[in-house]
């Protein structure tokens, strides 16, 4: 319940009926409420995706286990990947973008509030459609059940011949629908950032979060569209007798791979760039220094966006491309590591010479730096194509990308929650529960994903529902499973923190962290109209200028 309603003494204000509150939330076009709705939705899917992960891990705890059948296992890893990427990571990042971008650029809302709401509901509908597949009619080999083709849905496994029934169609349609939602949000973010900045906020004075979400939105436009196109082609193959990926008619399975990864690789940058944005806002505040090298950070992000559109076939090193193609994608993949490394160094440079405060949000950011460094380096290992001829399709890759998405992106998201929850709710999250969350999750994460590199090096492929004893994988998999359960407990602590702090947390005030960007100049939570009057800015840190009039940034920029 928001609102800083100014009451006249002696006037009775009745409590709003619950139904009205529900109606307000369902019909809202306010970017802040939609942001919160995105976060709720993604937390719900996080729990579902997490349960799927635990089922996978229990089955793989030891060799020749029979906890679930192969059919169920294959559905679990498909649903886990699809859920986590499309219905957890993307929505929560869109949610933060929605909430923060207008506030940080001094606007009252996004450029197109109704489009915003439409995009949110499309995304959520997509998620519900995916899960509806679980209750879809059973058929031959569970053909009316959840999709089991892996989250990349390689052809020709997705052809009617090999995937009868409708399970694959649930995968296709749910992503098609939510893809339109993503494109809508991307268009909204771009229009907002380019057209709604407050006076004085030139692009070079915009907070890095706004810049990075702008770049991310541009990438969404270019990356989601190939997935949409491929899915239309798949539907044409499955239902209109098309031959796009039909090997018997001369069609090419490799074409699906190219199209999918032209989406798939930029997609992971769509996920990580907003995480970079969180770091670029949180680390400076808790180091008590401005971000080191702002222009370089922008340039590096733009370079990453460009270069990342040229690396996709590093997911296809084993497919049998010729040596020149493999070499090309090897060097572009290594090249994208350069601007990424530059960003890590700039965050280090921000902390260097600062006065670091180890609030929970900062702890998660430090965890990100450590883990993203390792993830980037295992990425470089796989960029060396011959090394990838061993590592690809093994648990080494699974370990690598979970290091990026969980050890990197999810840690940054947790940091963002701890940092901006006070702004959104008016209350501080408990630092004590936060520390339990952090340390438990850190331990669980490393038990699982650091150890997971080893079975990969020892020859364990991915997407297998069981494995032979005597391969040396048993004990490692047991440790990995234990780590998964530790992470699950940490997530429960986090969810408990969110709920308990909402009712019992300390009042936050408008600026609990002594920060410098515009969202901290308004109340917590902000009123529906964001700012009493549209701010005017003269530097990148308008609140620093206000708090330090003897030494404003505007003098140096």
């Amino acid at each position: 319940m928001s609102s800083n309603a100014i009451t006249n003494p002696g006037v009775q204000i009745d409590e709003k009926p619950r139904v009205d509150i529900l109606h307000e939330w369902v019909t809202t076009v306010d970017h802040k409420r939609l942001g919160v709705l995105y976060m709720f939705s993604s937390l719900m899917f996080l729990v579902l995706g997490g349960v799927e992960a635990l089922i996978i891990r229990i089955q793989l705890m030891h060799s020749l286990n029979t906890f679930v059948s192969p059919q169920v296992f294959n559905r679990m890893f498909t649903m886990h990947g699809t859920t986590m990427i499309f219905f957890v990571a993307m929505p929560v990042l869109f949610g933060f973008a929605n909430y923060l971008v207008p506030l940080m650029i001094g606007a009252r809302d996004m450029a197109f509030p109704r489009l915003n709401a439409f995009s949110f509901w499309l995304t959520t509908l997509g998620g519900l459609l995916l899960y509806f597949s679980l209750v879809g009619a059973n058929g031959l080999y569970g053909a009316g059940n959840a999709p089991d083709v892996g989250w990349w849905a390689y052809a020709p496994l997705t052809a009617r011949a090999f995937s009868p029934g409708h399970s694959t169609d649930y995968w296709t349609l749910s992503l098609l629908v939510s893809g339109f939602g993503s494109i809508g949000t991307a268009i909204n973010i771009i229009a907002t950032v380019l057209c709604m900045r407050c006076p004085g906020m030139k692009l070079s004075r915009m907070p890095l979060l706004a810049w990075l979400n702008l770049v991310m939105a541009g990438m969404v436009l270019l990356a989601i569209s190939p997935l949409t196109a491929s899915q239309i082609m798949l539907l044409i193959d499955r239902y209109l007798g098309g031959h796009f990926f039909d090997a018997q008619a001369g069609g090419s399975a490799v074409l699906w791979m190219h199209f999918f990864w032209i989406f798939g690789h930029p997609e992971v940058y769509v996920l990580v760039i907003p995480a970079f944005a969180f770091l670029s806002e949180i680390i400076p505040v808790f180091s008590r220094k401005p971000i080191f090298g702002y222009p370089v950070m922008v340039a590096a992000t733009v370079s990453i966006a460009f270069i990342s559109m040229s690396v996709w076939a590093h997911h296809m090193f084993t497919v049998g491309m010729n040596s020149y193609a493999n070499s090309f994608f090897a060097i572009t993949t290594m090249a994208v590591g350069v601007p990424t490394g530059i960003k890590i160094f700039n965050w280090l440079g921000t902390m260097w010479g600062g006065r670091i405060q180890f609030k929970v949000a900062m702890l998660f950011c430090i965890g990100f730096l450590f883990q993203f460094l390792i993830a980037g380096l295992t990425g470089i290992m796989q960029a060396a194509a011959p090394f990838d001829w061993q590592l690809s399709l093994s648990y080494f890759v699974v370990a690598h990308f979970h290091y990026v998405i969980v050890g990197g992106i999810l840690f940054a998201i947790f940091g963002a929650f701890y940092y901006w929850y006070p702004k959104m709710s008016g209350r501080m999250l408990s630092e004590t529960l936060g520390k339990w969350h952090f340390w438990l999750f850190l331990i669980g994460f490393h038990l699982t994903f650091t150890v997971m590199h080893i079975p990969g090096l020892l020859g364990m492929p991915r997407r297998i529902y069981t494995y032979e004893p005597g391969r040396g994988w048993d004990t490692l998999n047991l440790i990995i499973t234990i780590g998964a359960f530790v992470q699950a407990i940490a997530i429960l602590v986090f969810l408990a923190n969110l709920v308990i702090s909402y009712f019992k947390g300390a009042m936050a005030g408008s600026d609990p962290w002594d920060a410098w960007t515009l969202e901290w100049s308004t109340s917590s939570p902000p009123p529906a109209y964001n700012f009493a009057s549209i701010p005017v800015v003269a530097s990148r840190r308008p609140l620093w200028d206000l708090k330090h009039p003897e030494d404003p940034d505007s003098r140096y920029e």
């Binding site: 197109f112 991307a186 907002t192 057209c195 436009l221 270019l222 949409t228 491929s230 003269a538 404003p552």
Partner: protein
């Protein structure tokens, strides 16, 4: 505070940012271009690779007349929006309706061509790789033309009811951008299917 540097910045004398309608439409065009690019790549990749069935050379007839119709409709929609910007609502309505007629004619031409291909040559989307890629690419474009015509017709209805005046010219321009995009895509599709792919 007043003795030191003024921490409250002055409002800049001019602060003009782009019109968000145009920026949003540009974003949509970028996304749509990416979708079309994938279909074009698939088309080019599969040129000459059909294992059986009719080939482009055997069955395609270059639709010169209908192409001229569609490309002229870009001119008419451009003139229409310029008229509206100058408050010449009559000219606007006339040119706008002409745009719809030209676009509709193009769509009719596509339908006619498909009828001929299906019933005289037996080429359908499931016949061979050429059929699949041809109908998908041309069909995707035709779908976008249809969507455009629906939007143009809506505006025409509002215009005929007297609701579209000079103040709406910015919004009408956004829709015209979409229509220009549809025409530009046709230039590419035409080149790929009727020139390169033969």
């Amino acid at each position: 505070m007043s003795a030191m540097a003024n921490p409250f910045p002055e409002t800049p004398p001019t602060w003009n940012l782009p019109y968000r309608g145009k920026v949003a439409m540009a974003g949509l065009i970028v996304a749509e271009s990416a979708i079309f690019t994938i279909f074009v790549v698939a088309y080019l990749f599969y040129v000459g690779k059909s294992l059986s069935g009719p080939t482009p050379r055997e069955v395609l007839e270059t639709p010169i007349f209908y192409t001229i119709c569609l490309l002229s409709s870009s001119l008419t929609v451009h003139l229409a929006t310029k008229s509206l910007a100058r408050d010449k609502v009559g000219a606007f309505i006339g040119l706008w309706l002409l745009t719809i007629v030209l676009g509709g004619t193009f769509l009719y031409g596509t339908g006619q061509e498909w009828h001929r291909l299906i019933y005289e040559h037996g080429l359908t989307i499931s016949t061979n790789l050429f059929g699949t890629t041809y109908y998908s690419l041309v069909g995707l474009h035709g779908f976008h033309v249809t969507a455009g015509l629906v939007m143009l017709s809506l505006v025409a209805i509002f215009a005929l009811a007297g609701r579209v005046r000079m103040q709406e010219s910015r919004r009408v321009e956004v829709l015209a951008m979409y229509w220009h995009f549809v025409d530009a895509v046709w230039v590419v599709v035409f080149t790929v299917v009727y020139v390169l792919g033969r």
